[in-house]
């Protein structure tokens, strides 16, 4: 049991919202991972839908390359939509 793989759990709290990462757990296979997720993460009515996926399948950005990855966006203020005025009365923008 100590060899059980790790699974990441995503829960959708209600219809219309996205699945959100809530944590991880150990399980022998996908079906048990789904059931364990139900028992561990939705005991207090936290969700209406659950996704689980093997943690090993997640490809993550390298914290060591954070500067190269994210810093260049820092001084590109023109990418933010703040350079024009929104006419009054426009609701759906």
């Amino acid at each position: 049991m100590r060899d059980w793989p790790l699974w990441e759990v995503f829960v959708r709290s209600r219809r219309g919202l996205s699945h959100v990462h809530v944590g991880s757990l150990h399980a022998p296979d996908a079906e048990m991972a789904l059931r364990n997720a139900r028992d561990v993460y939705t005991r207090r009515q936290e969700g209406v839908s659950i996704w689980v996926l093997p943690s090993a399948e997640i490809v993550a950005s390298d914290p060591g390359e954070r500067d190269a990855f994210f810093e260049p966006a820092a001084d590109k203020v023109y990418r933010h939509p703040t350079f024009y005025d929104v006419p009054e009365g426009v609701e759906h923008l």
Binding site: W4, H26, M32, R35, N36, D39, V40
Partner: protein
């Protein structure tokens, strides 16, 4: 008209099973299963509370009265649930038999002319469907697992099987559907349906194994030592 004794039987099955399930808390093979077994026990405890409250209206007693102040001879639960379950395979085999029966029973009670019982059954049937699923998943994995897990799961099933019969006392019509469901899981688990003689249990008449007394001593101790204690 539903009899108080009948309701007490269902209530005590759930209450005693919940108490046995509680034993696993902090002892399960891993954290995830620890929570699952606690959840199942709490579902059963909830069913027991509703049923005890209902029986209490017929007997003019409170649910606490019935849970904590009756002696073993007044309990109406079957023997299946009262024996110790400190082996994981036994726990899953027992939960498979018990929840398969509860599932059929509550599904039938949903259409009962007794509105209170039908209401309790309507909520419980969804809970026990999950218990049945959980037990099935484990019986299949352990039965169709390694040689060691296969032989231990078969031994656990053999040990629990004799107590299956008592569940059908007074309601033999549930037997075919319950057995079909259990045997489907047993087959998928590559296990054999045990060929063992049934035990003639007397739980519905207040006759119990020695184990129930010890269980009640632990469960009732606090309430009896400190009547009316709350937190």
């Amino acid at each position: 008209m539903t009899s108080a004794d009948y309701v007490l039987g269902l209530a005590d099955d759930a209450l005693v099973s919940a108490q046995r399930m509680g034993w696993w808390i902090s002892r399960a093979p891993q954290l995830e299963e620890d929570l699952a077994l606690a959840n199942i026990g709490l579902d059963q405890l909830g069913q027991a509370r509703s049923l005890l409250s209902y029986a209490g209206t017929m007997l003019d007693r409170t649910e606490d009265d019935l849970a904590y102040l009756r002696d073993d001879r007044e309990f109406r639960n079957v023997w299946l649930v009262e024996r110790p379950q400190t082996d994981f395979g036994v726990t899953m085999a027992r939960l498979l038999l018990f929840s398969a029966w509860q599932r059929e029973l509550y599904a039938a009670l949903v259409t009962s002319s007794d509105a209170t019982l039908a209401g309790i059954a309507g909520k419980a049937v969804k809970e026990v469907a999950y218990h049945l699923d959980h037990a099935s998943q484990w019986v299949i994995r352990l039965g169709d697992g390694t040689d060691e897990s296969h032989s231990r799961m078969q031994a656990a099933l053999d040990a629990e099987w004799p107590y299956l019969d008592e569940l059908f006392e007074g309601a033999p019509e549930l037997r075919p559907a319950v057995l079909a469901r259990i045997e489907q899981v047993v087959a998928e688990a590559t296990l054999a349906v045990p060929e063992v003689a049934p035990v003639v249990g007397g739980g519905r008449h207040g006759l119990h194994t020695e184990h129930l007394g010890y269980l009640l001593a632990e469960m009732q101790h606090l309430h009896r030592s400190h009547p009316g204690a709350t937190w």
